[in-house]
């Protein structure tokens, strides 16, 4: 069983390696889409976590004390803008760097 596992692992590695061998003669592989996906995915996911925390605590505070609505809303919007601007910096870098 252990041997069969090794065989399958090697086969899986080779399966990914084949396209690399096939293109070794021609031009370099364009890795930009991979980088864009990874970078944007990380940025968007972490931004989502941060914004979720911000909105979650704002809603909690609103539920406890509905009188503070106006002030809280303003602070939440500013905070969300700052958090999401970090993702947008990533987006702008991608737009500038990847043509």
């Amino acid at each position: 069983m252990r041997k069969l596992q090794y065989v399958f692992m090697v086969l899986a590695a080779l399966c990914f390696a084949v396209p690399v061998f096939a293109q070794s003669g021609s031009a370099a592989i364009d890795m930009a889409p991979v980088g864009v996906g990874l970078g944007m995915g990380l940025a968007a996911g972490l931004c989502g976590l941060g914004q979720g925390r911000a909105v979650g605590s704002t809603t909690e505070a609103l539920a406890r004390n509905p009188g503070t609505r106006a002030g809280l809303l303003m602070f939440m919007v500013i905070g969300l803008a700052f958090i999401e601007s970090l993702t947008l910096f990533t987006f702008a870098m991608i737009i500038i760097k990847v043509k």
């Binding site: 106006a70 002030g71 303003m74 500013i78 803008a81 601007s85 947008l88 910096f89 702008a92």
Partner: protein, 244 residues
């Protein structure tokens, strides 16, 4: 390159010669010699003219007994911006309210331009938000210098601890310049992303479905204009505030 819009052609017909002459005098060459004023700048001019017309109509038809609908809208805008400015800037906000209101309305209408089919959003070109952000930067620094005096304003940068002041001064200068960059990129990247989303919506299913990305564009436009106004008010209040 698609056919230029009617407004672009009209504004180039009216002002193209002057703009090209000014650019040549400064040593620049317009990218498109047939249309020296590009699409986003022409749209900006349309928005600015529309705003001036709106304010003129409001001013000319001002009445206490019988307020007409235009005046009602203007009063709503005034109410909104004055409550926001009073919350953020506090005492003496009236002086800065015209600027932030104009910034808000200008960005809002520029963002809404993208809702029309075949019209690009002017704010999705990086130069347009950069212009507004640079203006905001100059404006709040000017008022900081006016309130505290040139030396007093620079002393704010140095911080309270004297032996840290060279470092703090550098950090503060960089952070003030980064404000301009972040204002620019926030607006530009948001509008570009929502423009791209609308494009994806249209290529995905051109019937009825693009309403969703267009609605998103609408909300993003309002929120980004609001955020830009709010941040310029915060920067103003930080620049003119007195330490107690």
């Amino acid at each position: 390159m698609t056919e230029p819009l009617f407004t672009t052609r009209l504004i180039n017909y009216l002002f193209g010669g002057i703009a090209a002459a000014i650019l040549r005098a400064l040593g620049f060459h317009p990218a498109n010699s047939a249309l020296p004023i590009n699409e986003s700048f022409a749209l900006e001019m349309v928005v600015a003219l529309g705003l001036i017309l709106f304010f003129l109509i409001v001013r000319l038809t001002l009445s206490v007994e019988k307020p007409n609908p235009v005046q009602q809208i203007a009063e709503m805008i005034h109410e909104f911006s004055s409550t926001q400015a009073e919350q953020v800037i506090g005492h003496g906000y009236q002086r800065f309210q015209p600027f932030v209101t104009c910034v808000f309305l200008f960005i809002l209408l520029n963002n809404f331009m993208g809702l029309f089919p075949r019209v690009i959003t002017p704010t999705s070109q990086p130069v347009v938000p950069l212009g507004i952000a640079a203006l905001t930067f100059i404006y709040y620094n000017f008022h900081g210098v006016r309130v505290h005096g040139p030396f007093g304003y620079l002393k704010q940068f140095a911080g309270p601890v004297w032996w840290m002041s060279p470092l703090m001064f550098l950090i503060e200068v960089i952070s003030h310049l980064a404000r301009m960059m972040s204002l620019t990129i926030r607006l530009y990247a948001n509008m570009l992303a929502s423009d791209l989303l609308v494009l994806i919506g249209f290529s995905f299913l051109p019937v009825a479905f693009p309403v969703l990305p267009l609605a998103l564009h609408f909300f993003v436009s309002i929120i980004q204009a609001y955020v830009f106004m709010l941040l310029s008010m915060i920067y103003l209040s930080l620049a003119v505030s007195h330490e107690h």
